[in-house]
Amino acid sequence: MMGRRRCSGVTVAAAVATLWAAASAVAAPRFDVVPSQSSVTFVGSQQGEKFTGTIRSYDARIRFAADDLAGSSLDVTLQLASIDTNSPDRDQGIATADWFNVAEFPTATFRTVAIRSSPVGPVGEADLTIKGHVKHIPFPFTWKSGSAGATLDARVTLDRLDFGLGAGDWADDSVVAHKVEVVVHLTLVAAATAPAAKQRPKAANVP
């Protein structure tokens, strides 16, 4: 770049504009999660009573611009050993092979392959992988931009049997309901501009 001094100002400006357009087509602005103000939870029902499971540990790579959906993407890896259902007995139970089989499948992944617009807001077309089962799901979400960043909110209802969670004897809907509602609330801040910047929450954990 420094060697191109002979270019006229107009040429440079045009080149920058072209580069900018190309870059933004590849990737919308990146955001980092503020963990203390974010939650990834699911609401299940056991024997007639709802319970909430919180996935405490996850890594979210978010790129989003409302006017650049092609360059936007949501990419989340969830640590399933971090699930907290407010009952240690139940937490132990759902880590077993009948449920998440955390020993063999420690993570679940969520990746948008596209994000389209709809009259009610953006809708991600996502691949959700849990316990080796991949399911393509629509992921409608609300994006609100603020001065410091943005918030992302979504509610999606899944069927646990699609992912082999509690098959066989556990398939009884009256003991553990098939429908599980996933509720996501992410508070996001614009990521540092350095392209290789590490996720801030991880850096903060280093003493």
Partner: protein, 184 residues
């Protein structure tokens, strides 16, 4: 038909509480001892649900029974030595106390463990406390010790009733038997 107790015999309401609750205890207590070691799975959750449903029923019956009993006269006790009367009275009071303590501690244990409480799949009851591992240990201990004491008291109570019937040959047991109430 008179529902209330008379000077010689317990009324049908008291008798229904007495024998009905015994039947439920003889069902849910063995279930309780059996279920704990089952492997985790839907059968275990269902049998726990049955144990809890019967336990909640017993708790409700205990409350209604106590209210009814407070408004009842009681048949005149058969003549017996003073220490036996005191022992019988103490046993009866403790039986009433445990009919509350055992199901309530079970409910508390369930709540502290963060488990649901559904009554015969019809409706759910609220948790008495948020999930609490320390309280769970205490409630479990109370529940298990309580039921052991309850069993001991029920056995003592039954042995005493049989002793009155077959050795003393008095009307103590007959006063609680439904089919014999018309006898003089």
């Amino acid at each position: 038909m008179a529902l209330r107790s008379t000077a010689s015999v317990w009324g049908p309401v008291v008798q229904a509480f007495h024998w009905g609750m015994l039947l439920l205890l003889l069902t849910t207590i063995p279930i309780g001892y059996y279920m704990a070691d089952l492997p985790l799975g839907p059968p275990k959750l269902k049998i726990y649900a049955l144990h809890k449903s019967i336990g909640i029923t017993l708790l409700a019956l205990a409350a209604v029974r106590l209210l009814w009993r407070l408004g009842e006269r009681r048949p005149a006790p058969s003549p017996m030595p003073g220490w036996q009367r005191v022992a019988a009275q103490t046993t009866h009071v403790l039986l009433y106390v445990l009919l509350f303590v055992v199901p309530l501690s079970g409910w508390l244990y369930n709540s502290a463990a963060g488990f649901p409480l559904q009554w015969f799949r019809l409706f759910n009851l609220p948790a008495l406390t948020a999930a609490n591992p320390a309280l769970k240990v205490v409630a479990k201990q109370v529940h298990e010790t309580g039921v052991a004491v309850l069993i001991a008291l029920v056995v003592a109570h039954a042995v005493a009733a049989l002793k009155h019937h077959f050795i003393d040959r008095d009307a103590t047991l007959r006063s609680m038997l439904p089919l014999l109430r018309s006898r003089p």
